[in-house]
Structures are given as structure tokens and as C-alpha cells.
């Protein structure tokens, strides 16, 4: 019996009869119908004796009830999507979630935005955050520039949260001369739910762009598990710290730029040395899409060949333990491998690989002057002394430097502050900074 998804059908098994709306099934062994009580009923196909078509599905016109006229006098903001993280809705036809990207759809989901800005919105390309590559950063940067050239006040980029801090760092470096707000927004709870953090994150980002003179790349996510306010976080000094919490993103070695709450009409700046918005003098410096740079995590019991693997890479960031101590000190029979690792790193550097340390401890600064083997590492040419960059930012920065500068220039610039990624003094209150309880 021929029928389509969302047709009303009757399924007959040996002893029972079930009627409902046909639903898509990811498992070919089961037929799934949605009963009138709303529940899905999964029926083993092999038990089905007959399926009858009761009624073909009516085409349902999706009525977007909110009026969608926008106010042209309000500041213009473009939302660029890289996937459905912020604006997904449940699709009645398939039972799955479907992403919505047009301005009309966004305003239907976030009607508050109309009060603050004139919203444009589009999908750049579908990108799964964990599969992102340098070419994606380049694409996003170009699209951002396109919007800025059109004269928008600011741009919001929505992305899956897993690697949002990589993207924010990449955009920071690529968009040289930026003097406009480019805010990344994500959601830890999918936006088809009433409890999603997407709403606050997006609306606060828009509110912030409209009401602030902030002129650089930032991240806007929940500050606490509460739906009270968001943080605007520094693009190059932020990291995802929890697999699932709303307040997963925390600043490292610095404070958040600001707290934002559109509901309380409130922006509180915690720091004020951000770039002030003004005229963009954008020089797009892309990352070479084929450049080979890696980020490697040091651990105990390592082997030299783990390092030698990167012999033909152009750059290697090592998440080094403690103050930046590599496993290169051979003192007895048991640590013979450390001697080999020492030689391996030497070989890498001799081969032209730029080797940079970043803190595995995440918080704090790499200080390579403290232990003798660290000084040996410096002599060898391992870089990163006095860096307080996160490992992820170090990785992105290194790739970007090698794409746009000579090796020698890279060696100098890697530990120079270019976009706020390296601070010369760490605020004592920044360690595990959190304002509220839970």
C-alpha cells in the first residue's frame, strides 16, 4: 500500500489495529506512526499484515503569526549562520529538527530583535563545528567583510559551540584592522526547546552590538547556569570548559569584557581596554588552507616518535605541563626515552618546524626560565616563553602567522601581543572567574 510520511494510515498486525500519522523511521525494521495522543508507536514490520491509507496529508501552511515589518531606522545587523544551532525548529513532517535561516524565520523565533535592530540573516554554509578547517574560517571572514562593507553596525556569527573559541581566535587574526563588533553566538541546548540558551545568547548579542562601542571579535554566551545575563568574552582568551553547561565558556587569564542583559537593559563593562568601534580598515589576512600545523597534548610516558610524527609540519604547538616543562630530561635508566624526545624535538626544529609551548594547565603563564631543562628547550629554539595564550589560540595564531609571515617573523611575532591574545599582566581575580553560585 503506497503512502507517504505524514499521511494518516491504519496498520494491521496479527491481533491489533493501530491508526495514526506516518512518521519517518531511521530503522528499516520498524514502521512508526504518531498516534492521536501524540505518542509515536514503533511497530515491527515483520508483524504487519496490512497497511491502509486513511487520508492523505493536507499541506499545512505554516503561519508565522508575528508581523514582520522591520524598522529601517534601527541599526543594521547581519546574522551569519554556519548551521542550525541557534535557530532550529521541530519539523512536523519529519519529526526531526530543521534549521531556519531567513530574516522572517529568525524574527518569528526571536521577536524581541525587532525592538533593537534591523536584522538580516542567511546561511553561509553548513559546518559541523568539530569538522571545521582553516578554509571555513576564511569563508566566514570573507562573508563578514562582505557584510561590513555593506555598512552594517555589526555581524553575528552562529556556530556549534565545540570549536567556537577556535573560530573567534581565527577571525580575530584574519580580520586585521577590524573596528566593528563581530560576535559569535552558540547554544548548548538546542533551540527547538523552550529551555534553550539560544534565545538569551542571540538577543543579548544583538542588544550588545546596538548599545555598545565595542569594536572587535567577541563571544556571547551565558555567564551562569541562570538565565540572568550573558558574558561578552574575549575572542582570543576564551575556552569551552564544560561539555554541556550553558556557562561552559570561561575567560582565561582575563576577565570577561562585559555582562549583558537585554531584559534588564543592562551592560556592565568589567574591562574597558577593548577596541573602540570606528571606521574599519580591513586587511583580510587569510590562513593558508593547506598549511600543516598541529596541537599536541603532552602527557606522561611519551615516546619520541610521537614528536617525530610532526617532522614535516610547519608548526607544532605543544600543550606543555606546568610552567612549560617538556619531557626531555633523562636522569636514569627509566627516563632514557626523555633523551630521545629531546633529540626528536631538536630534529623538528632543525627541520624547520616552529615549535611553541602553550599551557596544559590552561590557566597561567608559560615561564620557561625556571627550570634548567626549560632553558635548554629555549636554547634549542622552543618558543612560547611568557605566553599566556590558551593552547587553542596558540594553534590558530601559529597557523595564521605562518600563512602570512616568514618563519623568522613568525618566531618573533608568536609571543608578541597582536590582538589581545597575550596579556602582560594577569588579573588576580581572573582565575576561575565566576560571579554567581551554582
Amino acid at each position: 500500500m503506497k503512502f507517504n510520511i505524514s499521511d494518516r494510515i491504519k496498520i494491521k498486525t496479527k491481533d491489533k489495529e493501530f491508526e495514526g500519522i506516518s512518521m519517518p523511521s531511521s530503522d528499516e525494521n520498524y514502521e512508526i506512526i504518531k498516534l492521536d495522543n501524540g505518542y509515536n508507536l514503533d511497530i515491527l514490520k515483520k508483524n504487519i499484515s496490512k497497511i491502509e491509507l486513511i487520508e492523505k496529508s493536507k499541506s499545512i501552511i505554516e503561519v508565522i503569526s508575528e508581523k514582520n515589518e522591520q524598522d529601517d531606522s534601527l541599526p543594521k545587523i547581519t546574522i551569519l549562520h554556519t548551521g542550525g544551532t541557534i535557530a532550529s525548529k521541530v519539523d512536523y513532517k519529519t519529526g526531526g529538527t530543521v534549521s531556519r535561516f531567513t530574516p522572517k524565520e529568525i524574527l518569528a523565533m526571536f521577536p524581541e530583535l525587532k525592538n533593537y535592530a534591523n536584522i538580516n540573516s542567511r546561511l553561509i554554509e553548513n559546518m559541523w563545528s568539530q569538522d571545521m578547517r582553516f578554509s571555513h574560517y576564511n569563508l566566514i571572514a570573507k562573508e563578514v567583510k562582505k557584510e561590513l562593507d555593506r555598512g552594517v553596525k555589526g555581524v553575528i556569527v552562529t556556530q556549534g559551540t565545540d570549536t567556537m573559541h577556535y573560530t573567534s581566535a581565527a577571525l580575530s587574526f584574519i580580520l586585521e584592522g577590524l573596528a566593528s563588533p563581530v560576535i559569535l553566538v552558540g547554544a548548548q541546548r538546542s533551540s527547538d526547546r523552550g529551555s534553550s540558551d539560544a534565545y538569551m545568547n542571540l538577543i543579548n548579542a544583538v542588544y550588545f552590538i546596538v548599545h555598545s562601542d565595542f569594536g572587535e571579535v567577541g563571544i556571547c554566551m551565558h555567564a551562569n547556569t541562570d538565565d540572568d545575563f550573558c558574558h561578552i568574552l574575549p575572542a582570543t582568551k576564551t575556552r569551552k570548559f564544560h561539555t554541556s553547561r550553558r556557562d561552559a565558556f570561561r575567560p582565561i587569564n582575563t576577565l570577561p569584557w562585559a555582562e549583558v542583559s537585554y531584559g534588564d537593559k543592562h551592560i556592565k563593562y568589567l574591562l574597558n581596554n577593548y577596541k573602540i568601534a570606528g571606521k574599519n580598515q580591513l586587511k583580510i589576512k587569510l590562513i593558508k588552507k593547506d598549511i600543516k600545523v598541529a596541537l599536541m597534548k603532552q602527557h606522561t610516558n611519551m615516546y619520541a616518535d610521537q614528536f617525530l610524527f610532526y617532522k614535516n609540519y610547519e608548526g607544532l604547538v605543544i600543550e606543555a605541563t606546568g610552567l612549560g616543562c617538556l619531557p626531555i630530561t633523562e636522569i636514569d635508566e627509566s627516563t632514557k626515552e626523555s633523551g630521545k624526545i629531546f633529540c626528536a624535538i631538536e630534529e623538528l626544529i632543525k627541520n624547520g618546524v616552529i615549535v611553541v609551548e602553550a599551557p596544559q594547565a590552561i590557566n597561567g603563564r608559560i615561564v620557561m626560565n625556571v627550570y634548567s631543562d626549560q632553558r635548554k628547550a629555549q636554547q634549542m629554539g622552543v618558543l612560547g616563553n611568557f605566553s599566556d595564550m590558551t593552547p587553542e589560540t596558540s594553534f590558530i595564531k601559529l597557523a595564521w602567522l605562518l600563512s602570512n609571515y616568514s618563519k623568522d617573523e613568525t618566531k618573533t611575532l608568536i609571543t608578541q601581543n597582536l590582538r589581545g591574545e597575550i596579556t602582560d599582566r594577569i588579573n588576580p581575580k581572573s582565575y576561575l572567574y565566576k560571579k554567581n553560585g551554582t
Partner: protein, 614 residues
Amino acid sequence: MELDYIKLGLKIGLEIHQQLDTHKLFCNCPSDLRDDKPDIIFKRKIRASAGETGSVDIAAVMEKEKGLSFIYEGYSDTNCLVELDEEPPGALNLEALEIVLQVAKMLNAKVSDRIEFMRKTIANGSVTAGFQRTGLVAVEGKLHFDFGDVGVPTILLEEEAAKEVESTPDIVTWRLDRLGIPLIELSTAPEIYTPEQCREVAAYIGMILRSTGKAKRGLGTIRQDININIAGADRVEIKGVQDLRMIPKIVEYEVIRQKSLIDISKKVPQKIRVSEIYDLSKLFIGSDSKVIKNALEKVGVVLGIKLEGLHGFLGQEIQPGRRLGTEVSDWAKARGGVGGIFHSDELPKYGITDTDVENIKNMLEYKDGDAFVIVADLPDKSNRALYGVIDRVKLLPKGVIKQVRKVNTDATTSFMRLMPGAARMYPETDILPVVPDLLGIKLPELISEKSLRYEKEFGLSKDLAQLVAKSEQFLPFEKFCGEFKNIKPAFIAETYLKSEKAVKHVYAVDIGPSDEDFNILFSALDSGKIAKDSILEILSKNKPVNQVIDNFKLMDDNMLEDCIKQIVSKNKGLPFNALIGKVMAKLKGKADGKKAVELLNKIFNLDQNYSKSH
């Protein structure tokens, strides 16, 4: 009032939610219900969002209009990130599923080939995720009663919601200890026709659930909702029926209410006309009414509307102690979060004078036969409240519409919210569907069957048998009976189940003996080492039994004989009954009374004979 329920076309369906005594459904937190001070607190908002059919859920919109914030309180040692909606759900609690499968089997229901969990949109804040996770386990069960069969169309396994602890007009506070506890939900078909049948069905279902041995006990662990309508009325769901004994009265009052509303629907104008909303604030400057004074002080307003042709209806009683005006007030409260309304049928009253009423009537252009409603609160809330009033009175010609109501302590009901539409459920893709294992399901013994068995097997009286069968202690009871064959099962039952009360009564001490304590007691009694009469005293010491039991050890027979001989010889000449007294006083329970008297008798007679012969 004697109601002819059959003639009225009364149809009742039951919906029972029972908490299960296992850890939570989608995480490993214990299902501990608590009332101590919580140490977690956070604040959230929940938005109305679209369900699977693309339309926004009506009830969710109503919640949104209220603009509520939610405060959640929890316990860091028994709540985890899943309850905070900060972590995806864990694996399904298979023990809970097994319990539901047992019930399904007991009801001869058809279990799903594969159980799929759904998200049911709930925007009132009672679930932190904005939806409840619920799964259909079985369909088409059946219950058999003398009055007929009652179908059980669905058997569900789902998460319990958080517990409301406080509700102000702008913020509702929820407690997370309850959130996520597994619930079995049984719904019956509307095949129940009288209040008494309803009670019977509810009691029977409760018994079946308790027979699994895994029904959580305590206040609020079972919730009964009654779906009820008479002919001409839409289905009304009454939530939160706790006490089985109240059920017949609740049904009766709801039938009266529905009948009253249907009668009213025939008498009111078939198209209800209301005026626009008027601002009456200036009429009340200097008013004596506390409510109005309060509102105006807080920069509130007094708003009013005229309801054409509705004079006398609001004051009409539709349930014992509740008028139509109370109904309308419920709607106003639900929409606007106001404390209440005033209506023309009850004024002048509450500090609102005759003059006030005249002024209102003038401003509203009142005509004979009209009614009016006024409300005093903040402008936004007052407006919304009156929209609620308008919505409700416009429905008067319809009689009884689909709605959800809650039970009051006097068995009447109050409006809670409109019945949410079906557009509320979509698949919970974070949980893998489960193929249930039906072969491993063992049917538990029904409590009713167990009770009969106890009467037959252990010779317990009907009351005692039921007491034990219903209790949580039936397993240890059976064990004790099997092990200690010298003690009568009835005595074991009485002792095991009623000692705490008895000790409290006799010794004014609160005790909490463990099963091990009883084990030692029964063992000693079984082997004759202590007397039956000592048991309560031993327990009253309120110490572990093994620490005190030696003091109560009975004398062995030789010692007993010597002791009695001594007493007899020291008390020559005393009559037999007095000697009994002396012996008992001396023994102080250290010997079995009957045996002592028998021995005394023997020794006394011997002694007498001896004396006589000498």
C-alpha cells in the same frame, strides 16, 4: 441532591501517576524527596516554542503572556546536572521499565515492539528542559469489575516534574528533588459511570501498583486525575486527587458544576457582548476598600468592563460554596496573576460602597440586566485579567469547555488552565529507543491475592492479613514465619508490625527497631529463652536488642523450681493465690508465667501434702 448519573450521561476516565521506588529515570540520582534547606538555587525563563505540528502550543502561549521567571532550588548531593538541564539525559533506568512492563502484563496490555521516548512541551516551568520525557510502553490493557470492563488504552513511563514550592504573580519557585523520579502513568477509557465506581477503580489500580513492591510511598507519591463529563459537556480534567475517599464527592460536585453551567448556557444571551475596558481609577480615590487602596498606592489602576445581559449569573452557585463569579475570577487570576476580581452580583461589599457601584454603573453605561466586573492591580496585569474574564464569559453559551481544573480541599474544583492541544510532542532524540525484553517479566503477586494467602496459610485474621500484605514488611514477615515455627504467625505479625505503636502507648518511648532486632527477638522467643510478655519491655529500652536481651533471659527449669521452692518455704501459711503474687513479683518476667504457676501448683501441693502428713 440525588443525581441520576446514568440519565446525565456521566462518563469518567482515570489517569493515575505513581512514582516508582528506584533511582531517577534518566540519571543516577536517588529519588529522594526532601524538605530540608536546598543549597542550589538558580533562575530561568522558558519560552513557548513550536511542537511537532508546527503550531505553537496554546497553553504555552498562555504561560508566555504571563512573562514568568522560574526559580529552581535543589540539593547538590542528590541532584545532578541532568536535573539542572545542564547535561543530556543518561541511559534509561531499566529497573523502572521492568516495573512498568510487569504492570502492563498484569493488565494484559500489548507492549510496544520498540519503546520510543517523546518530548512533551511544558512551559510552566515544572520541568527545567521545557519538556517532559515520556514514553508509551503498552496499549489496550483491561480491568475487570462487577459493573463491567474498564479499558486501559495507554500505559506510560515518564519523568516526574519538579515540585512547586512558591508562586507569586511574577515568579514561580520549583524544587528539583522530585524532578526526574520515574512515573508510571495509567489511563483508563471513559468507561466508569458513577462516583462510587470511580473510587473502586482508583483503589484497585492503586493496589495493583503497590503489588509490584516498587511503588514509592508517602504523601504525593501517587496522583490521580479524573477526566469527567456529562452529556453536553466537554471533557474536564481534574488534577491532584490525593485521597481515595474524597473521590465520590469530587465527582458529585463536578457533575453538579457541569450541570449548572449547561443550564446557564441555555439561559444567557447566545452571543455575549462586553464593553471595552474602562479605567475607573479616578472613581476610587479615597476608597475604603483595602484591595483597591493597595493597588492604587502601588501605581495600579482599577479597570472595569460591562457584561451585557449577565445580571444574576455571576452570583449563581454552581458548586457547593462556589459561584460562577469564582470561576470567572479563576480565569482572571490565571491570565493576569491578580489576586481576584469584584463583580456586580456581590457588590456593595469589601469596602466598595453603593455610591461606588452607582458611579461604576454610570461610567460603564450600565443597563438593567447587565453585570460588570472590576479589577484593581498594576495596569498590565489588570488588563490581562480582564481579557481572562472576557474569554470566560464569552464561553458561557458553550456550557462546559475542555479544561484542566484542580481539586480544592472541600472537594470543589478551580480552573487551572486550558487543555493543551495535541501539538506538544516530538521524539526525544537524545534517548535511544528500547526493545523491551518481555520474556524476563515475572508477575508479582497481587496484594489482594497475598492477603487471602496469609489468611489461609498463616491463619491470620482478614484485617491482620490485609495489614501485612499492604505493608512493606511482608517479605521479612514471611521469612520469620518460615524460620520460627514455635511462634504463632499472628503473634509475629502483631509484634513485627504493631510494636512501635504499642511501646509508644505503654512506655511513651519512640522506638525504631531494625529487622535484625526482630530476628534476635523471635529467635530467642522461638527457643524459649525469653517470655512473650517481655518483648515490649525489651523493645522499650530503645537499644539494639542484642545489648539488652540477656537481662530478660528466662530461668532454666531447675533454677525456677529452686526459686519457687524457696518462696513456698519462706511463706508457709500463705494461701495459694497470694503465693502466685509473690512468685510473679520475684520472677519479674524471667520465667514463663504459665509454667511458673504449674510448678507452683505442683510444689505447693507437694508441700501441703508433706505438711499434712507431718
